[in-house]
């Protein structure tokens, strides 16, 4: 349900070229729902974390093609909007246990990385303000640590890949770099090993069983009153 603030000013937006009047305080996602669109793909967490709602738009009178997450960006008057519910990308499969954390590994799976022109279009397209070009470049020279750290906030929304003139899929490269970094540079951490052992020894079996058998109404109450870890 969409709650409108009092006296919310109505503005004009264009969804896939069709004109609509919507309240000006809505996000692109809510505005599209306001106009009657239903999201079957291209919507997930609605909180800016999952990267499912990549959207391209142009502002009135601007030559610039811009990108955003539909659940985060507030609509503007005269905005032209096209949702990118899915960005087709070639995602390689590999066995992490057989790889080395170096440049040849990156180039074996994603050779198009070597076509990077450092034009920085990916960085400008990123709704997370990640230095995408810098992490692509770091991976090209085998600096796995920098590639992993710079790409850490990536949601895999795909806007960088849609915009890259060298047809690189930066988010897949970043993901490979982060996997290599955690497997080979950081290595396993003791607290994770301890917890996995606890799980395997059945420490939480009782608790999980209890949750599985809980009636839905009680489960809802438990969920809504759960302990949250403060950021």
């Amino acid at each position: 349900m969409i709650c409108l603030e009092n006296n919310d000013e109505m503005i004009t937006i264009f969804v896939m070229g069709k004109k609509h009047r919507v309240p000006g305080s809505l996000t692109i996602m809510k505005a599209m729902e306001y106009t009657g669109h239903q999201f079957r793909r291209g919507a997930g967490c609605r909180g800016g974390f999952c990267g499912a709602c990549a959207t391209l738009y142009r502002k009135k009178g601007s030559y610039k093609l811009e990108g955003a997450l539909a659940c985060q960006k507030i609509v503007e008057d005269g905005m032209y909007i096209a949702q990118i519910p899915f960005s087709p990308s070639e995602k390689k499969t590999y066995n992490l246990n057989e790889l080395k954390p170096d440049a040849p590994t990156i180039l074996e799976y994603y050779p198009e990385v070597s076509r990077c022109l450092a034009c920085n279009t990916c960085t400008k397209a990123c709704p997370q303000d990640i230095m995408v070009m810098d992490y692509v470049q770091a991976s090209l020279r085998g600096d796995i640590e920098q590639a992993a750290k710079l790409s850490f906030d990536c949601l895999s929304c795909g806007l960088c890949a849609v915009r890259c003139p060298a047809e690189i899929v930066p988010y897949n490269v970043g993901q490979l770099a982060r996997r290599l970094y955690s497997k080979y540079v950081v290595g396993p951490t003791q607290h994770v090993l301890d917890r996995v052992k606890e799980v395997e020894e059945g420490k939480y079996d009782e608790e999980v069983k209890e949750l599985m058998n809980m009636p839905l109404d009680k489960l809802k109450v438990k969920y809504n009153t759960r302990d949250k870890v403060e950021e």
């Binding site: 990077c116 022109l117 450092a118 920085n120 230095m131 810098d134 470049q137 090209l140 020279r141 085998g142």
Partner: protein
């Protein structure tokens, strides 16, 4: 200690680590601190020759911006940037020239880089490490020599990118002397040979190995005929084609005698007596150590 900006380039962090390690050690010995920017990208590899190919100037210009940033924050003493790889040197220097001499391209480059934090002023000077050494003076280099390379016959191999085109190259395009001067300062015996500026085949090594093996054979054979024990180079791609490709050369020319190829900085580190970590010979193929032991330069 003089602090100079240093642009490594991707190969110096991967296949040519021995070039970087030997350079760092020799620079330190000479009282030069080479400062690598926190951010940098590929140089652009190969200067864009097509007139309308402005896009390929972005990568080199971006790196020059990083140098200006280093200078602005006071981490280096000048707006000079030292390069090692001959390809990086050539690409950065030529794009810098385009930016400063062609106002149309300068405007286009700036337009593409719109809405970015920093714009390039054009004020960076791109130099090669060999030029930085020359500027210090060969006597200063000679003063650091602990173990002169006596009896070692070395052929300097320039290749293309250090010398051409005119106005970009670090020395006279037809009769360069800069590597000869360095080798003399190190106490080595300089062997001049006809093919010291002949192309090694460059990127043909990726898909036309036999062409590269053929060219490498000609160059190496000439050096051998001229009496050289080994070759020195300043280019990771030349090192690869002349050195690592010798297995292929041997297949095509069974009577070929292998001959070591090293970076000039490795011989500096050897002559300066900086130790194994600095000379970093273990990555070179064919291995130069047996020859150097034979000459009494390594234990």
């Amino acid at each position: 200690m003089t602090r100079l900006a240093y642009y490594p380039g991707c190969t110096l962090k991967t296949n040519a680590r021995n070039f970087e390690e030997s350079t760092m050690a020799t620079a330190e010995a000479l009282g030069v601190e080479l400062v690598e920017p926190g951010r940098w990208n590929c140089c652009g590899t190969v200067h864009a020759l097509a007139k309308d190919d402005v896009m390929h100037h972005l990568a080199p210009i971006r790196n020059l911006i990083r140098v200006e940033e280093l200078n602005a924050e006071g981490s280096v003493d000048s707006k000079k940037v030292v390069t090692l790889c001959a390809m990086c040197y050539n690409t950065l220097k030529r794009s810098n020239q385009v930016f400063n001499q062609d106002s149309d391209k300068r405007k286009k480059i700036r337009d593409i880089m719109t809405k970015e934090d920093t714009q390039y002023s054009g004020g960076v000077e791109v130099i090669h490490y060999l030029e930085a050494l020359k500027e210090q003076g060969w006597d200063k280099v000679a003063a650091q020599v602990k173990k002169p390379l006596k009896g070692l016959k070395v052929a300097p191999y320039y290749g293309c990118l250090l010398l051409r085109p005119r106005g970009i190259g670090i020395d006279d395009a037809d009769s360069p002397t800069i590597m000869e001067d360095l080798l003399k300062a190190l106490g080595a015996e300089v062997v001049s040979f006809a093919y010291s500026q002949k192309c090694c085949g460059s990127y043909h090594t990726v898909h036309m190995r036999e062409v590269v093996a053929d060219l490498s054979h000609k160059i190496l054979k000439q050096a051998e005929v001229a009496g050289a024990d080994m070759l020195v180079t300043a280019c990771p791609l030349c090192e690869y084609n002349l050195g690592q490709r010798q297995t292929q050369v041997k297949q095509q020319y069974p009577s070929f005698n292998s001959i070591p190829v090293v970076y000039f900085t490795q011989l500096m580190a050897l002559a300066f007596g900086l130790g194994e970590e600095a000379t970093a010979f273990e990555a070179n193929r064919p291995e130069p150590t047996p020859l150097l032991k034979e000459k009494g330069l390594l234990e």
